[in-house]
């Protein structure tokens, strides 16, 4: 109000503007207030599907409960036996058992030669091809596969065996892997040793999305993939994948 009186000393257009704005704001305010009341009313009526369930069952409860509520007391009263056991106090809070694993994605593979290979996250592209790091010194962890520390499932890591401009990649060493070889996979804060079970060529066509290699419902394992086999430039280069499957040895340890 005092603001309005002060405004009146100013030029008329400014006053008109100020009054206009004030009116606009008031109208908007009232509209907003009304708009706000409606959802309130709606929520009070419906609250949520859950809320409705609870009120209806609550009504059922009151009707059904009257005998329920009276029977224990009358029983206790008439029989004169021990009173209804009661207890009060805070509810327990469900805790994770100490054995709860804290899985993490792999960040480093240590090959048999002690070559360390940094591991990046690799996504399956829309064309179904796993997008590996271009750098042949790095590997990619398929982001739909298991993490290190998951009790079941395949940890899937792949890297280029070679490239025209960079030569052989670090995973070329895998082509010489033998059952029994040791590999280590490290995460940000943990380390897991693995022992190679199988190392073999498989036709690229067999490594489709439905391959059992990608899902291991009975055990945890490490699956390392690169390329190998006959190289036919006319047919897309390498005809096979070279796949190393390893299983964990011992427990997950701190890094």
């Amino acid at each position: 109000m005092s603001g309005h009186r002060r405004d009146s000393r100013l030029a008329p257009p400014v006053v008109a503007l100020a009054v206009g704005m004030l009116c606009l704001v008031l109208i908007v305010g009232i509209l907003v207030w009304f708009a706000a009341r409606k959802p309130d009313a709606r929520e009070a009526g419906a609250a949520s599907p859950a809320g409705t369930t609870s009120t209806t069952s609550g009504e059922a409860a009151t009707t059904a409960q009257s005998p329920t509520a009276s029977s224990p007391t009358s029983e206790a009263g008439s029989a004169g036996t021990s009173p209804v056991p009661t207890s009060q106090g805070p509810a327990g809070v469900g805790r994770a058992a100490p054995s709860q694993a804290q899985p993490q994605r792999p960040s480093l593979v240590v090959l048999k030669s002690q070559t360390t290979v940094p591991v990046r996250v690799a996504h399956t592209g829309g064309d179904g091809v796993l997008q590996l790091p271009v750098d042949v010194r790095r590997a990619g962890w398929w982001d739909g596969s298991a993490r290190v520390g998951d009790p079941l499932g395949s940890v899937v890591i792949a890297a280029h065996v070679d490239s025209l401009d960079q030569g052989l990649g670090v995973f070329a060493e895998l082509l010489g892997a033998r059952p029994g070889d040791r590999l280590d996979v490290k995460t940000r804060s943990s380390s897991q040793a693995y022992r190679v079970q199988t190392a073999r060529l498989t036709p690229k066509t067999s490594l489709s999305a439905s391959s059992p290699l990608y899902s291991a419902p009975t055990q945890p394992r490490l699956v390392l993939i690169t390329c190998g086999g006959p190289f036919d430039p006319a047919r897309g280069g390498y005809q096979d994948n070279f796949v190393v499957v390893a299983t964990p040895v011992g427990r997950l340890t701190g890094r």
Binding site: V84, P151, D165
Partner: protein, 306 residues
């Protein structure tokens, strides 16, 4: 342009204050923003009846919400605000227990169950539901111990998956979806199962919660299974892994162009091949190094990894 006078500034301030005050008037539901913040303040609460052979009535914050909830039942979700609440469970002709609990998570299970050593009255444990996004096509399995048994191991196909879980505790893991043969044995023992084995379907893209309930003494051991959908992250399994483009590996193990070696059944190179491989690997590394220097100098375009 023009310097606003004190009067106009005062007016604008007043207007802004009124505007803000109007907005703040009903602080809860002035549009989508605050509606979602209100939703965030509410949690979905499931009541889980883990006491065998009895029906219970449930009162929350003094209001009757469920009656005659049978054993093994999981209620439809109730919407409760975050913070403290009280709950009373009453069994017909049995016991009456009242507990206070606090909701912090978006989704919780309020579980009525017997403690490890059965007493007069059951107890209440509140478990948060882990609704964090899950890798696509995987399944999250969480198993809680709410039974009248000592600490136990959960086994899958007779191998320990989760070790040493005590009453009131749980263990969870993201696993491949599928049907698992699950049993529960006393921790560290492999003898008679306390429960199972049972076939447990664990569905993809969802949280499967299992509550082990009851007691072996009266054969009331059982499992309550609850399933909640989850959002997913990560990418689906690849259809192909193209991990090489130069053909350098072929020279290592005699894989020649034209595929005279059908590698599909080959189970790795022989010892002789390995020796030859190591030697040629060395030669190739040197060769490839030289090549890459030359290629680098020519600054030819990097071909796509094929």
């Amino acid at each position: 342009m023009f310097v606003p006078s004190r009067g106009i500034r005062g007016g604008v301030l007043a207007v802004a204050t009124i505007f803000l005050a109007t907005l703040a008037q009903p602080p809860t539901a002035t549009g989508a923003d605050s509606a979602s913040s209100r939703r965030a303040a509410m949690s979905q609460v499931f009541i889980v009846q883990g006491v065998p052979q009895t029906n219970v009535s449930v009162t929350i914050d003094g209001k009757a919400v469920l009656s005659d909830l049978p054993a093994k039942a999981v209620s439809s979700p109730l919407a409760l605000a975050r913070g403290s609440h009280s709950v009373t469970f009453e069994s017909r002709g049995g016991w009456k227990i009242s507990s206070t609990f606090s909701i912090k998570a978006r989704s919780v299970d309020v579980v009525l169950h017997w403690p490890a050593d059965k007493t007069d009255t059951p107890e209440v444990t509140v478990y948060d539901n882990d609704l964090k996004p899950l890798a696509v096509d995987k399944a999250r399995l969480s198993i809680a111990h709410t039974a009248v048994v000592p600490p136990a191991d959960v086994r899958v196909d007779r191998k320990v998956l989760f070790a040493n879980i005590a009453n009131g505790e749980f263990v969870s893991a993201d696993v491949p979806a599928g049907t698992y043969s699950v049993d529960i044995v006393p921790a560290g023992e492999s003898g008679t199962a306390l429960f199972g084995p049972v076939d447990l379907p664990v569905k993809a893209n969802s949280l499967t919660r299992v509550f082990a309930i009851g007691q072996p003494k009266d054969n009331s051991m059982d499992a309550i299974v609850q399933n909640l959908p989850l959002r997913t992250t990560g990418s689906p399994a690849p259809d192909s892994v193209n991990a090489g483009s130069a053909g350098l590996a072929g020279a290592l193990f005699g894989w020649t162009t034209g595929g005279q070696v059908n590698g599909s059944d080959q189970t790795g190179p022989t010892a002789a091949e390995s020796v030859a491989g190591v030697v040629s690997l060395f030669v190739l590394v040197v060769f490839a190094g030289l090549m890459s220097i030359r290629v680098g100098r020519r600054s030819s375009r990097a071909p796509r990894g094929g």
